[in-house]
């Protein structure tokens, strides 16, 4: 399988062509630096993203608190994680980096607050 990946490591935005099957990479072309090769290989095998969103609070004045995944999550799990987070309501007070959802969708990553309410 061949896949074109736009590199996001730096503003150059190289179009990198990765050829391989699953975990097995045959070739990486079009990158102009080593970092591009590392990024494109990872993006080909396991694309991950940091998820940031908000959760409801029980505070009338500040109805939301911003949250993030502590570590990047598998890209394909993002919408499933949103379904879980959507139903959560936290009790105030909440402090920066308090765990809001533990081990979200079995990914081993926590969702933590990024604000204080």
């Amino acid at each position: 399988m061949k896949k074109e990946i736009i590199c996001t490591v730096c503003p150059m935005g190289c179009h990198i062509l990765v050829e391989g099957e699953g975990e097995n990479i045959i070739s990486v072309t079009g990158n102009t630096c080593k970092r591009g090769e590392v990024y494109a290989s990872a993006e080909f095998c396991h694309p991950v993203r940091i998820l940031t969103t908000t959760v409801k609070t029980d505070c009338e004045k500040t109805p939301l608190v911003a949250v993030r995944s502590e570590k990047p999550l598998p890209k394909e799990k993002i919408m499933d994680c949103m379904e879980v987070i959507r139903k959560v309501e936290v009790k105030t007070p909440v402090s920066m980096y308090d765990v809001v959802v533990e081990n979200i969708c079995g990914t081993g990553t926590n969702i933590v607050a990024t604000g204080n309410v």
Partner: protein, 420 residues
Amino acid sequence: MYNFECDVAIVGGGPAGLSAAVAAKKEGAKKVLIIERDESIGGILQQCIHPGFGLSYFKEELTGPEYAGRFAKEAVELGVEFLLNSMVLEVNENENTVICVNSEHGMTEVKAKSIILAMGCRERTRANIMIPGARPAGVYTAGSAQRLVNRQNQMVGKKVVILGSGDIGMIMARRMTLEGAEVLAVIELMDYLAGLTRNKVQCLDDFGIPLYLSHTITKIDGYQRVKGVYFAQVDENKKPIKETEKYIECDTLLLSVGLLPENELTRKAGIEMNPITNGPKVNQYMQTSAESVFACGNVVHVNDLVDNVSTESMKAGKFAAQYAMGTLPMATKKVENVSGENVRYLCPHSLSVAEENEKVTLYFRVLHPELNATIRVKSGDEIIATKKRQRVNPGEMENITFDTSLVKDNNVVVEVVKEA
């Protein structure tokens, strides 16, 4: 009238104001006051819940609230004082006062030894770009929608079209999708992306949101609520091509069409402005034409990275504190910074050269992209600094540093030339 006295008064409690306050305190200013119109400090970063901040300043990737939180915490620990929910009506440079109003104290006069302007910028609206059509509900600037969705728990719509491919627009495309809305199109007038490629990949491509370059909205349709928008391809003069016009049914239109520094107070105070940046002219101390008034952040020029805002604002804070304490270096001559080939503007706009040598950094934007470019600083016939760049781009701020002792003439010229 309620009266308040301080050494340094700062208008605006966003990233610029907070960084300036921290630096002013560290420099030795005793009483530092931030006047903020919102109910909490942190400015626009409070609603920028996405990551991507702090990579150059903190060397780690933070979200907006985390980035603002670090400076807010430091400011509080250093004893910076705050007047929240307070709208500044006037900055008076002759009397060194700031007049503001809030519901607790009513009219308030703040007397300071130096004043820092850190009001930031605001979004261009529908009126600024004159989109024809009806005026139904459902047309928002991307940033106001971002505040409603991320801070106030108000969803703005279900079927969304976004005009403008700036970073805020693309980030809102992802945000609306995550919250269950359907984003039907991002429409961009230019033939290139306005924001970062990274945001196209992670905000549009990840969710299969189509991007239409060289297109614009020709008409908004709807009576009480937006029913849809007409859009068309544009020709080389940015005029819509009638035959290419199409209709998208939607209930919401978000505009991400640029930012304007918010300088009503600056103009009213009679401070000299730069017509290209729409911000006050400043020297390397971030000092305006009114010597007790300093300015920093997006109110001076629109930055692409908050990290740069912090670095610049810490200068404003440091030198405003020095001014308040009477220790700001005395200038022996004034040097104009002149934009040469492929330079749109320079910030600072002038240098107050003192006897002792100083390293100064000029920030600027190029007019057009270039590969293998050399940045040169010339004073008289001499080249006093050079820097090579593999790639320069109008969307990314460049900078160059040199010693004031090397400046011979009354001006320095910065130019970006292609290597031979």
